[in-house]
């Protein structure tokens, strides 16, 4: 049992290093790009809203408010889209008996988690230096919210990977389905301050709860009437269960192509 865990850990470390190399290339710029891409994205958005003179929906800082939303959604999107292709781009790996598909999912998730941990630290320290944010009210909550978001991305991504393998057009369907997420995840508004009719619909979106989770960590008195931590966790667990289960029952078909 212990030996198995050692092999598993070894495989995941090796795969993560390999994924890093494949995702970033060898150049130093290659490592910087995935870190600065989301930072520029949020920065530009904030800049635009400053120009049109919008007030932050909550708190003092527009940048902080948007960043808690956009970056959380980003973690979710990136992990699910990167996991989606984990099976198909890693077929060559199946020549090695100790590697199975789930390892490739975990390796990609590790990489995304590490990348975004750096993004978060760089971005929010930057905001604090610029006086656009203060230390989070509950730092541990911010970290837990981050992990919960990754977990949700893991669940979604596992299912995506299996679906994409079976129906490559799933990628396009998913793109269409995910497009409204930008507006449904509470990035631009405080869900708790919306009319109850809107809340009744929006509260079914698990990503919105992750965003709320992060904000209750950053702000002292954030209106968290909508927020329920168990919902995204349960949602993620169910997706993960379905994803891993269908991975298991379709494994033999895929193994035949190695």
């Amino acid at each position: 049992m212990f030996q198995t865990l050692v092999i598993q850990a070894r495989v995941i470390v090796a795969l993560t290093l390999r994924e890093t190399r494949m995702a970033f290339g060898t150049s130093f710029i290659g490592y910087l790009l995935p870190i600065f891409q989301p930072i520029f994205g949020v920065g530009f958005l904030v800049f635009l809203f400053y120009l049109i003179g919008r007030h932050p929906p909550f708190g003092e800082s527009l940048a902080l408010f948007f960043a808690t939303g956009v970056l959380t959604l980003d973690v979710y999107n990136k992990s699910s889209s990167s996991l989606m292709k984990a099976f198909t781009t890693n077929k060559a790996l199946l020549s090695y008996p100790m590697i199975n598909f789930v390892d490739t999912l975990l390796a990609r998730l590790t990489l995304i988690g590490a990348t975004y941990a750096v993004v978060f630290v760089v971005f929010f320290s930057g905001l604090m230096l610029l006086d656009m944010a203060t230390m989070p009210a509950h730092p541990e909550r911010v970290i837990i919210a981050f992990m919960a978001t990754l977990f949700l991305g893991f669940g979604k991504g596992s299912l995506d990977a299996v679906l994409y393998q079976m129906f490559p057009s799933w990628q396009n369907v998913d793109k269409v389905l995910s497009r409204p997420m930008y507006f449904l995840s509470g990035i631009f508004y405080v869900p708790g301050l919306l009319p109850p009719e809107a809340v009744a619909v929006l509260k079914w979106n698990p990503v919105l709860h992750c965003v709320e989770w992060a904000r209750t960590g950053w702000y002292q008195n954030y209106p968290d009437d909508v927020f329920n931590p168990w919902y995204p966790l349960a949602f993620a667990s169910i997706l993960l269960l379905i994803g891993l289960f269908s991975e298991r029952i379709t494994r033999k078909q895929r193994g035949g192509m190695a």
Partner: protein, 216 residues
Amino acid sequence: MIAFDTVTKVYTVKNVRKVILDKASFLFESNRNIAIMGHNGAGKSTIMRMLSGIELPTSGVISRDEKVSWPMGFAKGFNGNMTGIENVRFVSRIYGEDPNRVLESVQEFAELGKSIDLPVTTYSSGMKARLAFGLSLAIDFESYLIDEITAVGDRRFKKKSNDALRAKIENARVIMISHSESTIREYCDSGVLVHGSKLYYYDDLEGLLADYNRFA
């Protein structure tokens, strides 16, 4: 040893059902160098992939208590966008070997020179095969699975490969697919004939080769 317990393997490709193995039980004992023979399409390579663990049986259980190589002689496991070095490091890591030691030994054997620093897509098929062969020799397996030692490289390299393999099997064993009587006589002491979805074991090579010539 590697044990097959009532292993069935069935392929269905476009509604054509192909039975590779039908409830076969067999023990590949640790101290034997075993040849696998059979006619083309009998399923030898599939059996070898099941021996290594990269393919699962349709039903039944395969267990192994030794460190088994991947089927050697096929260079599919490389990522073309990564350099030779990176591929070697990756494989060393998953097998828990020291990447630098393995790299050194691969470099000495495969003689890729500076090309080891280039992406594998730029390699010729001969270079790829040399890298793959060198890599599997650099890792200490207890069982080497060899799917048809085909002519890799020129005569000098062939001799080098044979010598290296022979040195290896002093402390390890081979399970080998081949159609060549001389190769089998060179490396093996017993054999399995794959015929009609069953495995037939021969304790000596004479019986195996005789039956192979009769049936396959």
